[in-house]
């Protein structure tokens, strides 16, 4: 096994892993504020990508406004989800809220399918498709975009949750909504903000990934699944853990496919993930107990 191949596996793994990590970040935001696992998170990623394509193709917008528009619209959609589905179900148990998010994800998928059909679309690469070569491995400029955006978002979220009053208020809502309300935090507004913020993060992920992975109405399912796995692996509630968990998953898959068996690459990944989970039930970087359903 030559080093160039190994390096290529690593590069591929990190690229795919960023897609999982980006989705996982969105899970973290909503979980940290509400304790809900948002099954519609993958749908936010899909919406970002699809809306960018639609704005670009149907309305003929150039790439940058199309991307910004897609992110803005998806953020709005996140707010709508909270107002129309989550807020009316107030008082429901966590598992019922999970069912609500499952319903929402199916609804969003159905709506996108109805409006724009079942085809797959590709978004143009941001900085062209000429691969960057180093040490025998090839990487697309878009992969650098993805990695850079993942890291930037991660740093921004860390800063937001630890350094700003809003971020701290959102965390407080998850720990004890009653107490948070007592000290003057508007819990409802925080929940709304968390949905919009995570939709925004999801949409940014969606538009940045769409050139590489292409997009269609149903890409959110798999991303949501892998994003959830990344979250649990990294430790639920920890943005750093979520991103790291995503990267680890991606790298495991790439090496599994390249070195062991491409047919069983997902099985290999999940076996390792389960082994890690049994060893550390709260995830690799998780401190808080994660015993919510």
């Amino acid at each position: 096994m030559d080093t160039a191949s190994l390096l290529q596996y690593l590069v591929s793994g990190l690229t795919v892993g960023s897609t999982y990590g980006l989705t996982a970040l969105g899970f973290t935001i909503i979980f940290n504020t509400t304790g809900i696992i948002n099954f519609a998170q993958g749908e936010f990623v899909m919406l970002g990508g699809m809306l960018a394509v639609i704005l670009g193709q149907a309305l003929g917008l150039p790439l940058v406004p199309a991307v910004l528009g897609a992110v803005a619209l998806t953020t709005l959609a996140g707010g709508l989800v909270e107002r129309l589905a989550i807020r009316p179900a107030r008082g429901a148990s966590p598992i019922q809220l999970v069912i609500v998010t499952i319903g929402v994800s199916i609804l969003i998928r159905g709506l996108v399918m109805l409006l724009w059909g079942k085809d797959t679309f590709a978004l143009p690469h941001f900085s062209g498709m000429r691969p960057i070569l180093f040490a025998g491995a090839a990487m697309l400029p878009q992969s650098l975009w993805v990695l850079a955006v993942t890291l930037t978002l991660l740093a921004a979220l860390r800063a937001f949750f630890t350094a700003t009053i809003h971020g701290k208020a959102m965390l407080a809502c998850s720990h004890d909504p009653g107490a948070a309300a007592l000290v003057g935090v508007n819990v409802r507004r925080m929940v709304l903000a968390s949905f919009m913020l995570s939709a925004l993060v999801g949409a940014v992920g969606g538009v940045i990934l769409a050139p590489l992975t292409m997009t269609a109405y149903d890409v959110g399912i798999l991303l949501g699944l892998k994003g959830f796995a990344a979250c649990i692996l990294g430790g639920l509630g920890n943005p750093f853990g979520a991103a790291a968990g995503g990267l680890i998953l991606g790298v495991l898959e790439a090496f599994g496919a390249g070195l062991v068996s491409s047919a069983y690459k997902d099985a290999i990944t999940f076996i390792i993930l389960l082994a890690l989970l049994f060893a550390r039930p709260t995830g690799l970087f998780g401190a808080r107990s994660a015993d919510r359903v």
Binding site: D2, S5, Q8, Y9, V11, S12, G13, T15, V16, T19, M113, K118, D119, T120, F121, A122, M129, P131, L133, A138, M139, L140, L209, L212, T213, M214, A216, D218, V219, I221, L222, E253, A254, F255, A257, G258, S261, S262, A263, K265, D266
Partner: protein, 382 residues
Amino acid sequence: MKTVRLFAVLAAVCLMTLSLAPARAAEPVKIGAVLSVTGPASFLGEPEKNTLLLLQDRINAAGGILGRPLELVIYDDETDVNKCVLAVDKLLKKDRVVAVIGPTVSGNTLAVMNKFPAAKVPMISCAAAEKITRPVNPWVFKTPQSDRQAVARILDHLRQAGLSRVAILTVSDGFGQAGRAVLAEMLPAGGFTLVADEIYGPKDTDMTPQLTKIKGLAPDAIVCWGTNPGPAVIARNRVQLGIRTPLYMSHGVASNKFIELAGEAAEGLLLPAGRMVAVEQIEDGNPQKDVLAAYVADYAARFGAPPSTFGGYAHDALALVRAAIETSGSAEPRAIRDALEATTGFVGATGVFNFSPEDHNGLDPSSFVMVGIENGAWKVLR
């Protein structure tokens, strides 16, 4: 008292209508269809459904079948085997159709096939698997070519180009699995060396690990068996990794969507495809030319885009049933089946069908041509 009388009158009216119904002159010919209009195989099922709707209007505008209007009952199985079974039951037991078109995918077809001999209704599947018509089930037919015929075309081309060490990269769904089995059988039998047998998932978005591994084995050619969007990703990854080995695709990507998705990375790729991908390039005198030209033009006029070759499977299925009803002069299921089995020289969108009691597919490799992609367009290779 009044209400009772009212009910009595209503009941009498209902009874009369019921008893009169069968006596109406032009009772429609009911043909059912189960297609994967949504779900993973919607890229097949949707054009199939559109095609059926198009043909229904065309047939009814021309006076129907045997002077009776054609009524299609189309159900979507969502590419789900349970829903497919339910839909077939509904067609056979509730709607009482005289023939069934579909299902779209092989797995669903295999799941429902055994219901048809019991119901004594013919089925014309739009799925490709060989197991559908081999061994022959008297009540089951299919319109797509078998993978074997597509692979035969690719092997001919490989042989002419003098390529012998071949790597295959197939998708882990029913389509890829069938192609992989045929490739794994026919490549060694044809004197080729199978140097790599890699798999990717239908939803995977990056195949560079598999291609890196293949690159390291330095094959003469790569054959990829899948349907959109996977092969487009593979074409792009191939360019990204700077692989110059010729890449053959399956007929599963023979639609303009593939060229759109793969973009520049599609240049120079080769694949076997039905003649429909490039109607204007069909040689004069080929009987399919007129059939395809009319179909493509009508479809584009109604749905705003040219049909994919998959729509042709449904086109031929309905056209075959219609012809069978008209030759036998009866819309009874058994008469349709007998007439279908006796059909020869029928010119369809996919090829020329010659059914017999031993062959319920009726196509040969000549229904495929090898095409290449040049400057973002299909080019038939001769």
